[in-house]
C-alpha cells in the first residue's frame, strides 16, 4: 500500500524497537529519520531511527580475503544472505484518536508489524504538534550519540518544515534545545557543534 515501508518489527519495548530489513532496502532510512508503526484503530507509534547494524558473518569475513569479489557475489550477499539489517529506533510519541502525543506509547507494537518511513508531511505534523516534548526522549538516550541524532533529525525536519512553509520551526527547535540543555554545558556544546555541521542556513 505504501512503498515507504522499510521493514518489519523484530522486537520492541515501550521505549523503543528494533526493525529488520534487507540490506538492499537500506536506501531510504537515514539516521535521525522519523518512522511510524501503524496499529489498529488509528493508533500509531512514532520513532526516531538512532542506529543501524550491518552485521558480518564468517562467510563475509572469508569473502573479503578474495582478490576481487564479483558483482553477482556482492549482490547475492546483499539480497539473499539471511542476516537482516537491524534498525533501532526510540519511540518519541504516538497518535491516538487523531491526536498526537509526545509521550511514550501506552503499549509497544508487536513483532512483525510493518515499519514505515514518515513522509515530509507526517514529519511536519508530528514535529509541529505540541512544544517539542519529544526532544526529551532523544536527550534521555545514553547508548547512542544524542548530538548526532538530534542534528540529523533537525536537518530533515527543518527541510520538511521549510517545504511546508514553516521557516521559523528550526529556530524554535534550536531555542528549545538550548533551553533544555543549558544546564548541561558539554551536551549542549556537542549538539550545537553538530547543528553547525548540518549547515542549515538560518531561517527568519
Amino acid at each position: 500500500m505504501n512503498n515507504d515501508q522499510i521493514g518489519y518489527l523484530l522486537r520492541a519495548s515501550t521505549s523503543g524497537a528494533v526493525a529488520g530489513c534487507r540490506v538492499a532496502e537500506l536506501e531510504q532510512p537515514h539516521l535521525g529519520c522519523m518512522l511510524r508503526i501503524p496499529q489498529a484503530h488509528g493508533y500509531q507509534v512514532y520513532g526516531i531511527l538512532y542506529d543501524m547494524h550491518i552485521d558480518d558473518d564468517g562467510l563475509v569475513r572469508q569473502l573479503v580475503t578474495a582478490e576481487s569479489i564479483s558483482p553477482e557475489v556482492i549482490a547475492d550477499n546483499r539480497l539473499h544472505r539471511s542476516v537482516p539489517v537491524e534498525i533501532s529506533m526510540i519511540f518519541v510519541g504516538y497518535l491516538q484518536n487523531g491526536q498526537i502525543f509526545h509521550l511514550l506509547p501506552p503499549r509497544p507494537p508487536l513483532t512483525l508489524e510493518d515499519v514505515f518511513l514518515c513522509s515530509a508531511a507526517e514529519m511536519c505534523t508530528f514535529t509541529a504538534s505540541g512544544h517539542f516534548g519529544y526532544f526529551r526522549h532523544i536527550l534521555r538516550g545514553s547508548d547512542f550519540p544524542v548530538a548526532e541524532i538530534l542534528a540529523s533529525h533537525l536537518r530533515q525536519a527543518a527541510l520538511a518544515q521549510h517545504q511546508h512553509g514553516d521557516t521559523a520551526w528550526i529556530n524554535d527547535a534550536t531555542q528549545e534545545l538550548i533551553t533544555l540543555l543549558r544546564d548541561d554545558y558539554p551536551t549542549l556544546m556537542n549538539v550545537l557543534s553538530a547543528l553547525a555541521d548540518t549547515q542549515l542556513t538560518p531561517q527568519e
Binding site: Q175, T179, D183, Y185, L188, T201, P202
Partner: protein, 568 residues
C-alpha cells in the same frame, strides 16, 4: 522614538524593597541606560522606579567565558546567547500606583468613586511586584502622572528624561516650601540651571527672590565661559520685576549702573556680625568678651562707630611724666571698662579691615536695607551684585548682616500675620552662592542661614543654596534641604553630602558620578516624587520663548526681519 512592537523591556525575576528589584532584560542592553525611568506592571499596581544598575549574567559561567560566536554560525550563536546570556536591570522602586480595575469591569465604578480623578494616587512603595511582572519604559503619561503635567500651573519643566525626552517638572510651590540646593562641580552647568529655576520662580510670581550675586552673573547679560555666547541675565529679561542693587556707593556691575546702591550704616553692624567673621579676621577667643564690653559701654547702635574712633596705641605723659594711654585710646577705654588692654587693642587692629570698608558709612544717604525689604515685600526680586567687592569678607559680612535683618523683618511680619491678622508675608527665597562659606561646620551655628534652613517655611523664608562643594556644608543643614538638584560630582564626600538623609543612597551614588557634565542632573529629595536623572533644560532662546511666550520671541528677530514685518 519610533513605537516598538512590544513596549516591554523585561520582566521581574527577583529582588526586594531593600535590595532593589531585578529585572531580566528582553531587549538589547543598549536600549536601556542607568537612570532610566521604568514602570513595572503587576496586576492593578504600577511600580515606578529607576534603573540603578545593569549587570551581565550567564546561566552558566562557561557560556560567558567561551566566545561561542567564533565556534558556531551566527544564527546559532545568537540563539545560544539569547538563552544563556542576559542582562539584569537593578531597578530601584520609588513609587507605586493603584491603576484600579479595568474600566470595563463591574468593580470599576466602586473603585472610581473611592479614587476621584485629577489626583495622583502615587505613594511610596510598600510592596513588591509579582514575579515576571512586565517592565516597560515610562512613557510621557507616566512621567506626567508622577512629576506632574507640564501644562499645569506651578509645574515647571527643568529637563527631560534622558532616553525618551519626556518633560520632567518640579512643582515650584513645593520647591520653595523648604530650602533647596543646587550642586555640581565647576563647569557642570550649575549656574545655567540656577538661572532656569530662578526664571521659573520669577515667572511663577509667588515668591520674592533675594539673590546674593557674588560673581555678578545673574543681573545683566553675561558671556558663557565655554561658548562665548551671550547669556541673558534676569534683569534683562524681567526688568520690571527685578531690582539690581550694587554694593557700595557708585558701584558698577559689568560696567553698567545698577538700579540702586547698597550702603551699610555703621549702626547696622552688630557684634554677632563681627563674631561671625572670626575666622576671616582671625579673632581671638577673648573677642566676644571685648565686644560685650563695647556694647555695654557704647550701646548696640553705636559701638562700631565709637570703637572705630578710638585710637590704637595713643599715649600721653601723665603728670608724673609717666606714659599712660591717651583718653581717646583703646587701652584707656579698656582700662576704664575692666577689659584686657591688649585684647582690646588686638580686636581694634583686626577690625581695621571692617573700619576701612567703603560701603560702610556713618550715615548713608538712604536706608538701603529698608528699601530692599520694601522691594521684596512688593513682590519684586533683588539681585545684589557684589561688584568689585568679591572678597570673602565682603560676602560674609554683607550676606549675614542683610539676611539677619531681613529675616528679623519677616519674623515680625509673620508674627503680625499670625497674631494681628496682618497681611500674609510674601514667601522669600534667599539665593546663596558659595554657600559653604556661610554654612560650614564652624559658621553654621552662628549664621542666620542655618536657622533659616532649619526653620523651613515657618517665617516664609527659605534658602536656595548653590555650591560646588556640598561636603563643606554642615550636614545638619544639608539634611534639611528639601529639593536637591545635582550635576556631576567627582568627590566621594560631596556625593555623600548630596545624598545625605535620603533612602537608597547607594543606588544613586553611582548614578551621580556618571552624570554627563553640563548636560545631565539628578533630581532628588523631598521636593520631587522620586529621584530621577534628567537631561537639564537648555538655557537658550527656546527656553525664553517657551517661558515668556511668543511676544518675547520677537526679541530674537533680526533687524531685517523686524523691518520686513513693518513693511519696509
Amino acid at each position: 522614538m519610533p513605537e516598538q512592537e512590544s513596549p516591554y523591556i523585561g520582566y521581574v525575576v527577583g529582588g526586594g524593597l531593600k535590595n532593589n528589584l531585578n529585572v531580566r532584560l528582553t531587549v538589547p542592553a543598549s536600549q536601556v541606560r542607568e537612570g532610566s525611568f521604568v514602570v513595572v506592571e503587576s496586576g492593578d499596581d504600577q511600580f515606578y522606579g529607576l534603573v540603578t544598575d545593569l549587570q551581565l549574567g550567564a546561566t552558566d559561567p562557561r557560556f560567558a567565558d567561551e566566545q561561542s560566536e567564533n565556534r558556531f554560525p551566527a544564527h546559532l550563536a545568537s540563539l545560544l546567547h539569547g538563552q544563556t546570556l542576559y542582562t539584569n536591570l537593578e531597578v530601584m522602586p520609588a513609587l507605586m500606583l493603584d491603576r484600579g480595575p479595568d474600566p470595563a469591569s463591574p468593580e470599576y465604578e466602586t473603585w472610581r468613586a473611592a479614587h476621584p480623578e485629577d489626583k495622583s494616587h502615587a505613594m511610596p512603595v510598600k510592596t513588591v511586584p509579582a514575579h515576571h511582572a512586565q517592565t516597560r519604559n515610562a512613557h510621557a503619561g507616566d512621567v506626567a502622572e508622577i512629576f506632574g503635567s507640564p501644562t499645569k500651573k506651578g509645574n515647571f519643566i527643568v529637563g527631560s528624561t534622558r532616553e525618551h525626552g519626556h518633560p520632567i517638572c518640579i512643582n515650584l510651590d513645593k520647591f520653595v516650601q523648604r530650602s533647596s540646593g543646587i550642586f555640581g562641580a565647576t563647569g557642570t552647568g550649575k549656574s545655567f540651571l540656577t538661572r532656569i529655576i530662578l526664571s521659573g520662580l520669577i515667572h511663577h510670581d509667588r515668591t520674592s527672590l533675594l539673590i546674593f550675586d557674588m560673581h555678578n552673573e545673574y543681573g545683566f547679560d553675561d558671556q558663557a565661559t565655554d561658548t562665548n555666547q551671550k547669556v541673558p541675565g534676569l534683569k534683562s529679561k524681567f526688568s520690571s520685576k527685578v531690582t539690581l542693587i550694587g554694593l557700595g556707593a557708585g558701584s558698577k556691575v559689568r560696567g553698567l549702573s545698577p538700579d540702586s546702591n547698597l550702603q551699610l550704616a555703621e549702626s547696622q553692624i552688630k557684634p554677632e556680625d563681627v563674631l561671625m567673621l572670626s575666622g576671616e579676621l582671625n579673632l581671638r577667643e577673648t573677642s566676644a568678651t571685648t565686644l560685650d564690653a563695647l556694647v555695654h559701654s557704647f550701646g548696640r547702635e553705636s559701638w562700631f562707630h565709637d570703637f572705630k574712633q578710638l585710637k590704637n596705641g595713643a599715649i600721653i605723659e601723665d603728670d608724673k611724666g609717666k606714659k599712660v594711654p591717651a583718653p581717646d585710646s583703646v587701652a584707656h577705654w579698656a582700662n576704664q571698662n575692666g577689659v584686657n588692654a591688649f585684647a582690646a587693642e588686638g580686636l581694634h587692629s583686626k577690625l581695621g579691615r571692617l573700619f576701612n570698608l567703603s560701603y560702610i558709612s556713618q550715615k548713608p544717604p538712604s536706608n538701603a536695607l529698608q528699601e530692599i525689604i520694601l522691594t521684596l515685600e512688593k513682590g519684586k526680586h533683588v539681585v545684589l551684585s557684589f561688584g568689585d567687592h568679591e572678597s570673602d569678607l565682603d560676602y560674609l559680612l554683607v550676606t549675614n548682616t542683610l539676611t539677619r535683618q531681613i529675616r528679623a523683618a519677616w519674623e515680625k511680619k509673620t508674627n503680625d500675620f499670625r497674631g494681628k491678622n496682618a497681611q500674609e508675608p510674601r514667601p522669600l527665597v534667599i539665593v546663596v552662592e558659595e554657600a559653604h562659606k556661610l554654612l560650614n561646620r564652624e559658621m553654621a551655628s552662628q549664621t542666620t542661614f542655618s536657622t533659616i534652613a532649619r526653620e523651613m517655611r515657618k517665617y516664609y523664608v527659605t534658602l536656595l543654596i548653590i555650591d560646588q562643594r556640598p561636603s563643606q556644608i554642615y550636614d545638619e543643614v544639608m539634611s534639611q534641604l528639601g529639593t536637591r538638584i545635582s550635576g556631576w560630582l567627582g568627590d566621594d564626600a560631596d556625593i555623600s553630602a548630596v545624598l545625605s538623609g535620603l533612602a537608597s543612597r547607594e543606588s544613586l551614588r553611582g548614578m551621580l558620578s556618571r552624570l554627563q557634565p553640563a548636560e545631565e542632573v539628578l533630581l532628588l529629595g523631598w521636593g520631587v516624587p522620586m529621584p530621577i536623572p534628567i537631561r537639564s533644560r537648555r538655557y537658550d532662546q527656546q527656553f525664553w520663548q517657551e517661558l515668556l511666550g511668543e511676544a518675547n520671541a520677537a526679541e530674537t528677530k533680526s533687524i531685517d526681519e523686524i523691518m520686513g514685518e513693518l513693511g519696509f
